[in-house]
Amino acid sequence: MDQPPTRTGMPVIEMTGVAVSALRYPDTVVAAEVNWTVNAGDYWVVAGLHGSGKSDFLMLTGGLMAPQRGRYQFFGEAMPIFEEARLKERLRLGLVFDGGQLLNHLTIAENVALPLRYHHNLSKAEGATAVSKLLEYTELTPWAESASGQLGRSWQKRAGLARALALEPEVLLVDNPLAGLDPHHVRWWLGFLDQLSKGHPLMHDRPITLVVTTANFRPWKGHARQFAVLKNNGFVVLGPWGKLAAAGEELVGGAEA
């Protein structure tokens, strides 16, 4: 990407009075008044119970739908961005879906290569080096040529992560990455996201801004730095881990859902 480097601490996501509606039911509001600023280098975890609208919130943050009301700016640009001319700004953001949402007609390697080849007009061979690096870091090399539907859900999520990282985004949104994973995969995700937040070789050691949703704060202790919660059709910024206990958050503890 030809964007200027992001300075740590500068606002990248700014929401003012934003109302978030459900992606499938646009008349239903899942969060009525979101006032939220994410600065470059932040590592946010947004928690919510099942059905609280975590995915919808992330879809809006990812620019897949417009706020029902309020103002949402991404790097100072009004979101959502659908115009070709502003696409460069939009690609500074990567989104990892809950189930990976891979394209079923493509293999794992083709899925990961797609954004790279499409936006940079690369042949398969030209994109191969970058793709093999992404697959290697996400431990997907043995399944590179497998159809995406053949892989288990845990690995599909990783492939979704590799695909989102292909364009080297500055901000990464990850929807419920730990849901349904065994402890080995949970450890891998927490470690990998920590590395991304501090600077991963895949991203040329550049720290990236992270926003993650979850149903349980507990696994994120010692990893994420800022916390917020979606509940009662509202969005509450809780701050660092120490403030969660003080706020008596019900989402601290138990197994990851």
Binding site: L103, N104, Y118
Partner: protein, 269 residues
């Protein structure tokens, strides 16, 4: 959403008319969006899109060729073999060329091809795209900054338009050849040179031009209607079968209406 049954004939007709108009509006908008994307994104992401288009041409054309050769043989037997035989019996063999051109080249060839491509590939389009939509693949493409219409619809429209055109040509050629073969086997006293001279005499330049326009239009319409039903609205998995049925019905109606328009053009010219 399922509405209660209408309580009068007027309500029934009114609801039907409203649905028709809404569908036409949706289809029209979708067709314009697709056309717009084809123009504005022409040549974009060539390394990804060119293989996608080739794949769709192969899917809606090349891979259907064996089936079409079989159908052309059957069509030759059913239509041409019998027509030649009967025209000979009534002493009207001089009209053979005209009858063949009207029945096979202008009407049956393009329409049969369009309906078979609809059955084989059009239905698959709705199911694939409807499932992709239901599984969130369209949102995934949008999140990657890839226009779903460009990536999913444009190759299908080009592939189907070219596929229907090419298959129609093969179907017509196959049917005309096999038709003569069937007639020959029935000992009809018609030399190959006379048969093909009559066909060439009955064909005009306009037939070739209109055949191309008609088949390209059939292919585009089938692709647009099936893609519209698969993609244009959020679907749940259980809604995909309903969308497929609607897409097939509307594609058939659209092709028949377009065919009627071409009949008028043929009659005027």
């Amino acid at each position: 959403m399922r509405l209660p049954l209408p309580r009068s004939l007027a309500a029934y007709l009114g609801r039907g008319l409203f649905r028709f108009l809404l569908t036409m509006q949706g289809l029209g908008a979708f067709a314009l969006i697709t056309l717009g994307v084809m123009i504005t994104r022409f040549g974009a992401a060539r390394q990804v899109m060119r293989p996608r288009v080739f794949e769709e041409v192969a899917r809606a054309g090349l891979r259907l060729l064996p089936m079409f050769l079989f159908i052309s043989g059957a069509l030759g037997l059913v239509v041409i073999g019998q027509t030649v035989s009967w025209l000979t019996r009534v002493g009207a063999i001089n009209f053979l060329g005209t009858v063949m051109v009207i029945v096979v080249v202008r009407e049956l060839g393009p329409l049969v091809t369009a309906l078979l491509v609809l059955a084989r590939i059009g239905t698959a389009n709705v199911i694939e795209l409807g499932t992709a939509r239901a599984m969130g693949e369209v949102e995934a493409l949008e999140a990657l900054g890839i226009d779903p219409v460009h990536y999913l619809v444009v190759p299908r429209v080009i592939g189907m338009a070219l596929g229907v055109f090419a298959l129609t040509v093969y179907l017509i050629l196959g049917a005309l050849l096999s038709g003569y073969l069937w007639a020959f086997l029935q000992d009809v006293p018609l030399r190959p040179s006379d048969y093909f001279r009559q066909l060439a005499g009955a064909l005009s330049g306009l037939d070739f031009a209109l055949l191309a326009v008609k088949t390209l239009a059939f292919g585009s319409i089938i692709a647009l209607v099936t893609c519209y039903h698969g993609l244009a609205q959020p679907l749940r998995l259980e809604e995909v079968s309903r969308a497929t049925i609607a897409a097939v019905a509307q594609s058939v109606v659209a092709c028949v209406l377009l065919d009627a328009l071409f009949i008028i053009i043929y009659l005027i010219t």
